[in-house]
Symmetry: D2
């Protein structure tokens, strides 16, 4: 976790205090269930909750000090609780194994993290939607291969982003459902020393599903899937960021990240306004994505479990979620405050001398009876002249002066083909598909 | 694609012939829709289908030869079709762009591939289930950290695998649904030159959903998700393979890959029976997983599209699906024919002198009034002696001889604690969770 | 391997025939050494070489047929050789293990591949150098963050690429040296059944170093390093390719990939000239890079070896080397034939109204006695006006009209600060560093 | 960075204080050179060093507070220095750009990190060497595929590790040399505003090489190579760790991680001694390796630079080096204190009834005139009986009772073939190769 790329709410999920609070709740709910089953005295559960009701501070340093001796984190925690609760605490953790606590806790943390990320996605989607409708009909050039193609609108670009992040949301909802399971099944998952009803009780209390079959640990294919989804979301962040970076290039300048009055772009070149937020997001996407492979390497634990996954998760658990949360928040800000320059979009759209209408002419020639190959030649020979003039010549004028063309299409017909509205007639259709019909 | 790790059905999906067949169907269905809309003559569509009804051979070499000149694959294909169909073919591809064909074709191929993989998963699940029930109550030692822990059954190990691959199946079904979209939206996705109803028609005919908003291409987050799921499945294959490899180790030998009579394990050491299939699967898992990162790097295409994804997909499309299909098939064979040695499992289970029952004793001591810490000490001091004897001493006998222990638990009570059935009492519960109640 | 991204010379290295030829040479050289040591009759070695001198065709199908029965590739090969050579062949492979042959063969193949790649790099470096000197003093705008910064020359851009690929060459030479080792040490690397002098002899004959200590296999950290270097080279290819793609953008258009007369850029838009080669290279870089992680995952083989690396290497060995060879060749062609537009470079350089000289003014103001902060303010307030005019205003003229500025610097002094030569005065120095002093 | 996997010396390299100290030294040395060239007054340089000689505390909070306003870290730092040094500080940073400071600083940090890692490798190599000589002739079974093969010694296993980490050291030395460059070349690397001699001076003072050609930034292929080497080292750590984990398995138990008296292996099973250190190292290897791909993705910065690499490096710079340092230290401790059980090794070696000698018998039969195929059959039919008896039968006895065998080899000859010394006769040779002749 790098503090400059972290927000407090998500960071708090990964604090020692939050972890220990979750541990306590797991243990105490389990003790409730054990008491209900008659395995331990009801007074034991009551003692735990009575102490908890005092809202005790979690003394992380004290627990760490105990761990330094026992070299075992859960035992250290239980010892600390026992020091506070007293003799009744000995019934706690009855029949459970450390991983019951650790893995269920991780499930809670990842579910909490997913909830924040889902809210982040909602905020991002809202910002995108607002700007999409704002620029629904703002014409701009569509580019393939970085080369001018045909007109689109800036709203369509954002509609695409909206659809993409909507898919990301669905994926994250599925991944959250997968990860949110509770395992309290004992040393090798057989429930030998603990009744399955304890697991069911704790799961219900924590809003988790039960893990159908565990092997001391919750199987890591669930986590691999979770981090893979984060990696896909990061890749979508990269895509929109790269779009902004392209639009802000000096020669393009169709949009810019918001530039605050006090901000200095460069220590040397005071005129510079750099797309540093989206460049930063491009890098953060690489960081989030780097969690995917180790998460997949974590799946093949030996036999009923080894502990190689644990150190990996201590990194990628916080890093991937905190960084993604920050990145989603930053991207939302970029979209929300993006400076959009419709005039420059129009200027760029016009700069190629009408080449963007070439395909429509091609089709019209075909409709007018020319073969596809012939039409292609007619368009291309005029298009090339415009291209080589760097847009100083007009495709429309050249076509009007090409006798082979005018043999098929009149000047008026040609003029009608150079109509921008032709390209925008289905924007409503697409918006309805993406945002839902009004 | 490496031929030795490829099966014909999946390989055929990626053949040039299959690709061209799909291209034709897309073009011909689109022409139908265009004819219905009055954009092109109905005779054009009829001409295409009439020719197709003759079941013409796809002359890949001829198409390639045309491409060598045009340097454009779709134009080459259209030219070849036109050579065969005649003049009516000029109406084909009206208003479409190459990517409409290419991306929709890729969607069809990935959906076809997913269908095979889903069938593979079904076969694997069936094999696992059969063996799981066969060994539902075959006791074996559960191991954490590679160290003996407590008893499980071999059927439980397989139930875990069944649950894991069942999750893989659900993920793949979701990924298939995501990837199976049709985009026929023209040069930059605006439908400027083609009515959205064409897309809807082709989608329906090919069993695809429409792509809500495309930008010449289908957005690559869909593909990233698809390959990520393949990577997770591969990781689960690795997990089960590593389990078999461990079980086949000389010192463990609880199970073995089937060894055919004519097979030679080593050119030098004729006695060797190596788990080469599961070692191979471990490697193939790495191969499939290696597709995930480039698929994610493909997401951030520039503006409305660049073509950097294309070369990546020419590799990972076939490689990841063909290799995963092969791997699933191979793993199914391994499971199906796995030699399982219950006697050896029992022998291994017994080799630690009863240490596997230590936790139960610990709990019983706690129940009998000892503190958790005291119980721990009592068990550990006896357990350590057994451990150091390499299982020659018996934990039960030592406990019976420890006065501090017998002060809490009688000899009979101790004996009762060393009962294997205690560990297996919830196997039915777990099987019901995994396979569904009878 | 994808045929369209493969060249014959590199592909041939990975053919079955080449592999079997190398196998034979390893076996025959080893037999020579064994004969010299008196372990086998000299007639055995002679028989092998006599047969080899007849330049026998390698009957891959026959060997494959034998393998189908034995399920062991080296035994199949030895059987086939014995069928051809006769009884003397029984002395072949004495004391060796399959991996002695397989791993030493792979070392030869990777060394052969490295030699081709090194030649590729030489050709690329030569092309870059030629174009670098051609455009040594062609002014163009330097960009950071995609935003105009200060002038550079196009030759400097290429000098940077030259330096980068020179480093790549050194890395590949080191990786080649690392990978080119010979191991003939028997079943677990102890030389129990084969004298170390056999290994030394074969190594010398094949131009390899001896592997100091092997464990049936050559340790895979060597291979991991080799593929990591290929991944770095691929990343450098991506960098230069992305540069070309940027330069070819419609709004920039300072350079273009060569566009052959018959080439069609788009089936729909005949005017398009797309940077498809460098986009393709961007994708191929992802492909080559994807070999790095599995190669690293291959390192941790179990004990003296397992065979999980083998399937991985069957993919990444050919794929990474063939694809990188193709990519280097393609990039060399791109550089060699790149269309460079100095006039457009100058036009872009001028389009910001002189903002590129802002830092020099800043420094001059500081030298003239203004504080750094004051100077910054003076420059920025004028620079911002130019920026907002989209380069229609001239920074020089604005500065001349700013009394706070002219209080420090005269009009003539200001004019002198807007001299392009100021930025190019150290180009020779840098060229000397990169290409060596004349 | 995860504190529990971090050591203070390496962590300090990445502290804000260390970074600011390096920044100051770069700036002050540069001011010296500028003063020498007459660009700035010598008093300016003196003022900086005079202040520095007071050993001023680095007020990180103050610098951060300034950055919160300027949103630019280097400007914030310069402002803070100026507040302390006074008016003379305005000559600092003359003609430089932020990246001159940032990238040269990163080079210093990575070189510092490499020095620690090189020392770590030396310590590890020393520990391995000591244990290797200690167990140079301790016989143990060599295993391929996890299956018993032929005898080796435990010292040989360690010699292999020694050779592998020696290679890692050479790679890291090369990577350190590559990364340790100084760039002070101004806004786009042209030295327009700063003389190349400044760069040369600072480089010399900081023990760096000059960067031959930079583009505001030091090219990122250097960093990609650096992190790739860390990834390879991590993979070698994983290999040795996996070896220890295998040796500690209950059924194998040939070695164990040191187990301290107070340590609890499990909260539930007091008898457990788990290889948690090497399992942890297996996970940490995945973490370090995960830096490789983003480092490679950082190479293709846009034009003269973008800043996407920066956020990535804020993670992987500290994470990969700190984690690798910790891992190397931990592995050194594991090797140093490893509990090795020669008796158990011998027991395991004997458990297969002499099958480990099968190849030698095979060769002897061949030498005695049997064909290779015949010999193979003779050995295998007896070997299979031993195998199926789980080592209860003796291969030597069975061979003595096989008339077809004794027709070729006498009982005494057979007995002589079952000699362990035969397998160890070249251990000295291998040790000489790895550790150098005495």
């Amino acid at each position: 976790m790098v503090p400059r790329y972290a927000r407090p709410e998500m960071t708090a999920i990964w604090s020692a205090e939050n972890r220990f609070r979750i541990w306590f709740e797991i243990e105490a709910h389990a003790t409730d269930a054990l008491a209900e089953l008659g395995t331990v005295p009801k007074s034991a559960a009551k003692a735990l909750w009575d102490w908890w009701a005092t809202n005790p501070a979690i003394d992380v340093a004290a627990i760490d000090a105990i761990e330094a001796v026992t070299k075992h984190d859960v035992i250290a925690f239980l010892t600390w609780v026992a020091e506070n609760v007293g003799d009744e605490a000995r019934f706690m953790h009855q029949g459970m194994t450390s991983s019951d606590v650790l893995d269920t806790c991780l499930a809670v943390q990842l579910a909490q993290a997913a909830d924040i990320l889902l809210a982040d996605l909602d905020a991002l989607l809202e910002a995108i939607k607002r700007r999409a409708y704002e620029h629904k009909l703002t014409p701009t050039i569509g580019r393939s291969h970085g080369i001018h193609a045909e007109p689109v609108t800036f709203g369509l670009k954002l509609a695409e982003a909206y659809a993409e992040f909507s898919r990301c949301k669905l994926r994250l909802q599925a991944a959250r459902a997968e990860i949110a399971t509770c395992a309290i099944s004992g040393a090798v998952g057989t429930f030998a020393n603990i009744d399955p009803r304890v697991e069911a009780h704790v799961a219900a209390k924590l809003g988790l599903a039960i893990e159908p079959v565990s092997t001391q640990v919750i199987p890591r294919d669930r986590h691999a899937m979770f981090f893979a989804v984060l990696g896909v979301i990061a890749s979508s962040i990269e895509r929109l960021s790269v779009e902004v970076r392209h639009l802000q290039r000096t020669e393009v300048l169709e949009a810019e990240e918001y530039f605050s009055p006090g901000q200095k772009g460069s220590s040397a070149m005071p005129h510079k306004r750099n797309p540093i937020l989206t460049e930063n997001l491009t890098g953060l996407a690489r960081v989030v994505r780097s969690a995917v492979t180790p998460a997949m390497e974590n799946v093949a634990l030996w036999h009923e479990r080894d502990i190689s996954h644990s150190s990996v998760e201590r990194f990628i658990g916080p890093d991937a979620t905190i960084t993604l949360d920050f990145a989603l928040g930053r991207l939302t800000g970029v979209v929300d405050k993006l400076l959009v320059y419709p005039e420059r979009m129009q200027k760029n759209l016009d700069r190629m001398g009408g080449l963007v209408h070439s395909q429509r002419v091609l089709l019209a020639l075909t409709q007018a009876g020319a073969s596809r190959e012939e039409s292609y030649v007619l368009v291309q020979r005029n298009a090339m002249k415009v291209w080589e003039s760097d847009g100083q010549l007009s495709l429309l004028e050249l076509l009007k002066g090409d006798a082979d063309v005018t043999a098929k299409l009149s000047a008026d017909e040609l003029t009608a083909l150079f109509d921008l509205g032709y390209h925008l007639k289905h924007v409503d259709t697409i918006f309805d598909r993406v945002f839902g019909a009004a």
